[in-house]
């Protein structure tokens, strides 16, 4: 393993320090791995917070700022943050208008956020929770953990954050977040595994001619191993699964995201976007906006995910609203 780190145990702590050094408009809560907007709690505004394991940068703290998140809790690499830290985040960002927690559907995240919400509620904070589960690779069923939350989460941050910035109350902000969850689907793939600082070697082994389809964002193997394919074939596979699940009708409008897993050159993501847009064109689906970049990564993994979000006028307005964060800036 070769990494630009000092020691595996210090990665999260030092990364957070380096982040605050680069973005002095963020603030680290003393003795925690929680970053918040420097001006948190923001008077008169519902707070939108998120959190989860580290290793997905710019997720989560990269989306702190005007028009997106108020707080972001960083767990160890790929390990959800502990409930007490989540509780501190909730308390520190609540301005009395309540806090919406955006949680990706993993039992660890859900259980810790649940506990934190209970703790915060005991202190009189109004807390709502939205669980994102956009990953179509995983079968959804009552008897299982359901679908994972992956890159579509960024759209939830953006829309809920914009709604809160526009003065929406906790109910309205939560409703927007749920609307995004209902309308976004994602599927991902990996060309290579990733190397966590603690383990120091690839989480799974992939042959030179193999890829993983249906991966999450934690270096876990995917739902299926396949022979290497061309970028167009891969894009087709991901996109078709996403579109079939979303049941889009001709003429509907979408916002797309080609998300890099961390180790993929941007040029390759654009090659994927090229095919994605041509598939949408062929199906008579209109792209209102196309996002291409590293939004939610898995350390150094090579691969990508394709997300499609069905949008209406409300979501378009929220997606287009200004945001100013280290990881995403939208200007009017």
């Amino acid at each position: 393993m070769k990494k630009l780190i000092n020691e595996p145990g210090a990665v999260v702590d030092e990364m957070l320090d380096g982040m605050v050094a680069a973005h002095p408009e963020l603030r680290r809560l003393d003795g925690t791995n929680v970053l918040v907007r420097g001006d948190a709690p923001v008077d008169g505004k519902v707070a939108v917070v998120s959190g989860g394991g580290s290793g997905h940068e710019p997720t989560h703290a990269g989306y702190l700022g005007e028009g997106m998140l108020d707080g972001a809790a960083a767990g160890e690499v790929f390990t959800s943050p502990t409930a007490d830290q989540l509780n501190e985040m909730i308390q520190a960002t609540d301005a009395g208008e309540g806090v919406l927690c955006v949680v990706k559907n993993y039992e660890g995240d859900v259980m810790n956020f649940d506990t934190a919400a209970e703790m915060a509620a005991m202190e009189g904070v109004e807390v709502e929770q939205v669980v994102v589960n956009d990953d179509v690779a995983v079968e959804d069923s009552l008897y299982t953990s359901g679908r994972r939350g992956v890159a579509g989460t960024i759209f939830v941050h953006k829309c809920a954050g914009a709604k809160a910035a526009a003065g929406g109350d906790l109910e309205a902000v939560t409703a927007v977040a749920e609307k995004v969850v209902d309308n976004v689907r994602t599927m991902g793939m990996a060309l290579t595994s990733c190397v966590t600082p603690e383990k120091g070697e690839p989480t799974f082994d992939l042959g030179e001619d193999e890829i993983e389809l249906g991966i999450g964002i934690h270096g876990e193997p995917g739902t299926e191993r396949a022979d290497i394919m061309s970028a167009d074939e891969i894009t087709e596979h991901l996109t078709e699964n996403v579109l079939d699940d979303l049941e889009l009708d001709e003429g509907e409008e979408v916002v797309t995201m080609v998300n890099g897993m961390g180790g993929t050159p941007l040029s390759e993501l654009y090659i994927v976007n090229r095919k994605l847009q041509s598939i949408l064109d062929d199906r008579g689906i209109e792209t209102w906006d196309a996002w291409v970049g590293d939004y939610m990564t898995s350390l150094d993994m090579m691969g990508c995910s394709v997300s499609v979000l069905r949008v209406d006028d409300e979501l378009k307005e929220l997606l287009g609203a200004p945001a100013e964060t280290p990881g995403l800036t939208v200007t009017e």
Binding site: F78, T79, S80, Q85, Y106, G108, F204
Partner: protein, 212 residues
């Protein structure tokens, strides 16, 4: 029945042994978690129990049940992931059963409360390929050995360890329904569950400590 101090010392010894064992097994647990999860279970367990064991001095004046409770909260604050709230929250919750001291009877109540909380918090039944698969046979066996077979706690615990071992083996051929491994669907078949395995290790160390 041993006095509070002896009991506390026994709990602290057990804690040390568990922490040491989990540190030794860190890589093994992580490897299991690599196959069907996200390669952090070893680090999570080592970190959590390591932190708890480091608090020996803080624990020096506490009642045994308080020590146990504090181990639980320490895990909650330091583990994260799925195993943090499951191990930590359930230990914390079950520690109430030890308020009157640690006896054969209260240890059964502790075990049952612990199992209930894990099932409740995580929503997993037996057969979902989780720590529950190690816990259910262990707790059932322990309870029956003590309450119906009148075995001494040490023998009951030894039987529980055997039972947990079978539970761990049982996780291998089945498909995960809960936890990260469930995202792998059929690909999870053939792999041993990390959380069930760490549960077994902990039970083994409790037995080891009790035998000493």
């Amino acid at each position: 029945m041993a006095d509070a101090e002896t009991q506390r010392e026994a709990v602290l010894d057990a804690l040390d042994n568990v922490a040491e064992r989990l540190a030794e097994e860190k890589e093994y647990l992580t490897d299991l978690d690599s196959a069907i999860g996200d390669a952090d279970h070893g680090a999570n367990m080592e970190r959590g129990f390591g932190k708890a064991a480091d608090k020996r001095e803080e624990f020096a004046e506490m009642e045994p049940n308080e020590v146990v409770k504090n181990v639980g909260t320490t895990l909650i604050s330091n583990v994260g992931g799925a195993s943090g709230p499951l191990y930590g929250g359930s230990i914390m919750f079950a520690s109430q059963e030890l308020e009157g001291g640690i006896t054969a009877e209260t240890s059964v109540a502790f075990a049952e409360a612990y199992l209930d909380k894990v099932k409740d918090r995580g929503g997993a039944q037996v057969g979902a390929k989780t720590m529950v698969d190690a816990l259910v046979p262990a707790v059932h066996t322990y309870k029956k050995s003590i309450e119906q077979d009148d075995l001494p706690p040490l023998e009951a615990l030894a039987k529980a360890v055997d039972a947990a071992e079978r539970g761990v083996a049982f996780t291998v051929p089945i498909k995960a329904l809960k936890g990260r491994a469930s995202f792998l669907d059929w690909r999870s078949v053939g792999h041993q569950d990390p959380g069930a395995t760490s549960t077994l290790f902990i039970l083994e160390e409790l037995l080891e400590t009790a035998e000493e």
